[in-house]
Amino acid sequence: MMTRPGRLAVCIAAIIAVFLLMPLIAVIPVSFTPKRFLSLPEGEWSLRHYRALLENPAWAKGLGLSILIGVLSSVFATTLALLFSLGIWIARPRYTGLLMGIALLPMVAPPVVSALTLYFFLITLSQYNSFVAFDTWAGVALAHSVMIAPYAVVLITVALAQVDRRIDLAARGMGAGLMQRIRHIILPNIRFGVLSALLLTFVLSWEEIGVTLFITSVDAVTLPRLMWMGLRDNIDPAIAAISVILIVIVVTAILLKAIGQRKGGNA
């Protein structure tokens, strides 16, 4: 490329890049403070807040609950989204725009409106049963499914857009039924799209907080909900410790992926 950005542009971008990383780096020293409140360690560094994560059973419970809800809702939402996207791709219905609009609604509506809507949904269900209800894990998983399904629809639809319709047409011409076409022709071609939909929806459910705040109170306390409680009342440095752990996981995953891509690209 001949017209690279000038030095000034690079400097400005570097400053903004530092701004983007700053809050993530800031939590690291705070997590090692020996004090019970938000502060910087002076001299001695302590692991007490990491120990607190292990010793307080609430954190392990929140972690387990978040994983359970994440797995259930991502599998459920991705399945529904897969069926829907296949239906749109194969049947090409007349009202595709409208159907897509309904499927994507929770993604484009203001999150707080979705939260209130799902709160209404779950307290209504609570009148009929106590399993899928307000402040239960099943209720949270169902609500998360509503919020994350649109993202799976987007990813799978994008993957389907790249499938060559002629191979499906050929299979159909040779007498393959609908299920055969889906299983042997279409699914193998979009498996990366489906996998990335599963991964993205899991992460979205894992860190969902806006809706979760509306639909839980004391029983179904997911990890983000627990962090929220620690942030709101009296800022607890244990939040810094859990944040550092989450940051390390994300950074490792992204670096591994970047390295993998580089190797793949050079080979």
Binding site: I102, V108, L118, F121, L231, I239
Partner: protein, 273 residues
């Protein structure tokens, strides 16, 4: 009339789920807004005339506008390097965009608290170095909310901007430079106009996102900077007035719907790329 193909049945589960779990409950919210505490449009009148609610709306719009301008401008500068920098610069910027993007909004808000609060890192440093004699208030006010929201939204602005910048034809820039335009002039009079659709798209996406924002303002505003989303939460859970909370939600949904319609019209003329 065309027969409905069997494959249409595949559409049923998701559409049915969305109708039952989202559309019908939203109708319920609309019902709340006109029946609680008494039938009528009283809650809408309150939502659109009550000075307290109006001041929250105005503050929300003001903060969202500032945040949109800041985060689109910042995202533009990083995306420029992301798309057109040297390979090493591109990788560095990509990591700086993707890492915050994947990290939970709570962690990011907490990071800003750790940096900006009165006993936080910046205040401690600045006092130690002697720039400040007493701590500067940087959270629990609009400044903190704007910083936190802009930080959250920059990656979301970067993606549409990147796709707009990738379509810019290199040769046009070379032509401008070849005819003697300076770097700065090429940037402002050729490159920026060529990516205008991306700027407007990113701006609308960020603005719509910012309007419904709840977590960052609640944490960094510390209860003092109440925005529309937090007001709904407060009216449902803390000083209950469900009808008003519902009415504000419906107003918000209509407003965002209008903006999205604008976005669609904006996206259409350029057509599929």
């Amino acid at each position: 009339m065309r027969a409905i193909p069997r494959s249409s049945l595949l559409l049923v589960p998701l559409i049915g789920f969305m109708v039952l779990a989202y559309l019908v409950p939203f109708l319920g919210i609309m019902q709340w807004s006109v029946t609680l505490p008494e039938p009528g449009l009283g809650q809408y009148e309150t939502a659109l005339t009550d000075p307290l609610v109006l001041s929250v709306f105005l503050r929300t719009l003001r903060i969202c506008l500032v945040v949109t301008v800041l985060s689109v401008a910042a995202a533009y500068m990083v995306t420029l390097i992301w798309v057109r920098g040297t390979p090493a610069q591109r990788l560095a910027i990509e990591l700086c965009i993707l890492i915050p993007f994947w990290i939970s909004v709570l962690t990011r808000a907490f990071g800003w608290l750790a940096l900006l609060s009165t006993k936080g890192i910046l205040n401690t440093w600045m006092q130690a170095v002697g720039i400040l004699s007493e701590p500067l208030m940087m959270v629990r006010n609009e400044f903190g909310v704007i910083v936190g929201m802009a930080h959250f939204l920059i990656p979301f602005a970067a993606f549409p901007l990147a796709s707009a910048m990738r379509t810019v034809d290199e040769r046009v820039l070379l032509a401008a430079r070849g005819m003697g335009a300076s770097r700065t002039r090429t940037f402002f009079q050729v490159f920026v106009p060529m990516t205008a659709s991306g700027i407007i798209g990113a701006g609308l996406v960020v603005f719509v996102f910012a309007l419904g924002f709840f977590v960052t303002p609640a944490i960094l505003g510390g209860g003092r900077i109440v925005m529309a989303a937090e007001l709904i939460y407060l009216r449902i859970f803390q000083s209950p007035n469900w009808g008003l909370g519902a009415a504000i939600s419906v107003v918000m949904m209509v407003f965002v719907g209008g903006l999205l319609a604008l976005l669609m019209r904006q996206a259409r003329p350029s057509g599929p790329k």
